[in-house]
Symmetry: C2
Subunit: 224 residues, 2 copies
DNA sequence: CGGGATCCCCCGAGATACTG
DNA sequence: CAGTATCTCGGGGGATCCCG
């Protein structure tokens, strides 16, 4: 048994052999947002040793999860893209992200938010909410140095990193923004205490809070 | 940033800090089946260093995922049990197991099946199938040295490790059993080529194959 | 005998410098 | 931009030992 295998004919063991390697889940999180260059990945994963990123990308390519695209690029840049098999990890990684977010109250010291993590968080949040019936609405969300935007058309929510050219509402996350996503505070309270600052129609903040929901884990009194 | 953290305020990063540690996913897989003693875990995880198991259990306890129950046990044994927070990992780990199983054709050299992994596989398989309308049916499934049993009542499927006292059908998995679960071969073919051996009513094998389904990943021709 | 703790070795991760 | 090279160091693997 190699240092990566578990010696068990088990689906979870096979998944653990891939995802249990350090940094792999975060690399895949960023690639789930879209194809990325090596330097994009380095920028979105502060602290990752560059040799480790190179090793992981090779492993993921060998395992059929990622493809390295070099040819047919006029700008000669190299792009890493998920295969269909890699994209199949989306539901599982979203479920893990939802589980992790359920006890995530405030950032630990020095913790940052990246465009990819914010985009992922909003994608997961969109699965937990239910957009009110209305025409197309575009949000831009800022959290720390990260920016993402979301376009909501009926039940359809599309989230992408970066600015939106023409947002209906711009939200800037404050210290209690996570509480707003959990429904622990109302949009009105969030505005009052600086949990969120907005530019645009305040009524749209109610729509936002209904569309994007990430509940907190209920603290069981009896912990069994 | 410690050697376990990622320095990102991100749900998936938080999950990775727990599940990215070696052996942790398999420990949780076994505990999802039910409370287990230290020695049960050692037996179900061949190759795990005992000190590492002890370390992991302490970390999981500190993180509120596992509780250690010592008191009130007449036989003085210690049992590890998932908290509500730990049990919340069920859907995410099942999704990971489904992803891993989708490309799992045959065991690699020396790979084994444990009671817990077989039980987990059947639980995941029950989510992918649809039991035909019938009265209560009990199956006993053997794969390698592992044994599990399942009780199917309508849409309700309950899977547990070990023998069933009174099974309606006993299945012993052969080399092509995985193909049967994927629907790549019919129950008749599976019987003919030794992919499965049964004791009991052969018609129940059709019901089994409809109830427990784990599809193979479709091999995309265009791998994007 | 169940439930660990201790020890040593070594590989993989971190950090940083360097290169095609 | 996209990695490779090199070094150091901590955590995992493996065996053994210990304690109630």
């Amino acid at each position: 048994m190699g240092s990566r295998e578990y010696g068990q004919f088990c689906g979870l063991a096979r998944a653990a052999e891939v995802l249990g390697q350090r940094w792999t889940m975060l690399i895949l999180r960023d690639l789930l947002v879209g194809p990325r260059r090596y330097s994009d990945l380095v920028a979105g994963l502060p602290g990752i040793p560059t040799n480790l990123l190179a090793t992981r990308l090779k492993e993921l390519e060998r395992d059929g999860i990622v493809v390295r695209e070099a040819r047919d690029r006029p700008d000669r840049s190299i792009v890493y893209r998920l295969t269909a098999r890699g994209a199949d990890l989306g539901p599982a990684l979203d479920a893990l992200g939802r589980w992790g977010a359920a006890t995530m109250h405030a950032p630990r010291d020095g913790e940052i938010v990246t465009d990819a993590s914010l985009t992922t968080a909003l994608r997961v949040a969109a699965q937990g909410g239910r957009a009110p019936d209305q025409q197309s609405v575009t949000y831009t969300i800022r959290a720390g140095d990260a920016v993402a935007h979301a376009v909501v058309r009926g039940r359809q929510v599309e989230v992408a990193p970066g600015e939106s050219p023409s947002p209906d509402l711009v939200l800037t996350a404050g210290p209690g923004f996570r509480d707003l996503l959990a429904g622990a505070i109302t949009p009105e309270e969030a505005l009052a205490d600086g949990s969120v600052e907005i530019t645009g129609d305040p009524d749209l903040l109610d729509a936002f809070a209904a569309t994007f929901v990430v509940p907190y884990a209920t603290r069981a009194l009896d912990n069994r």
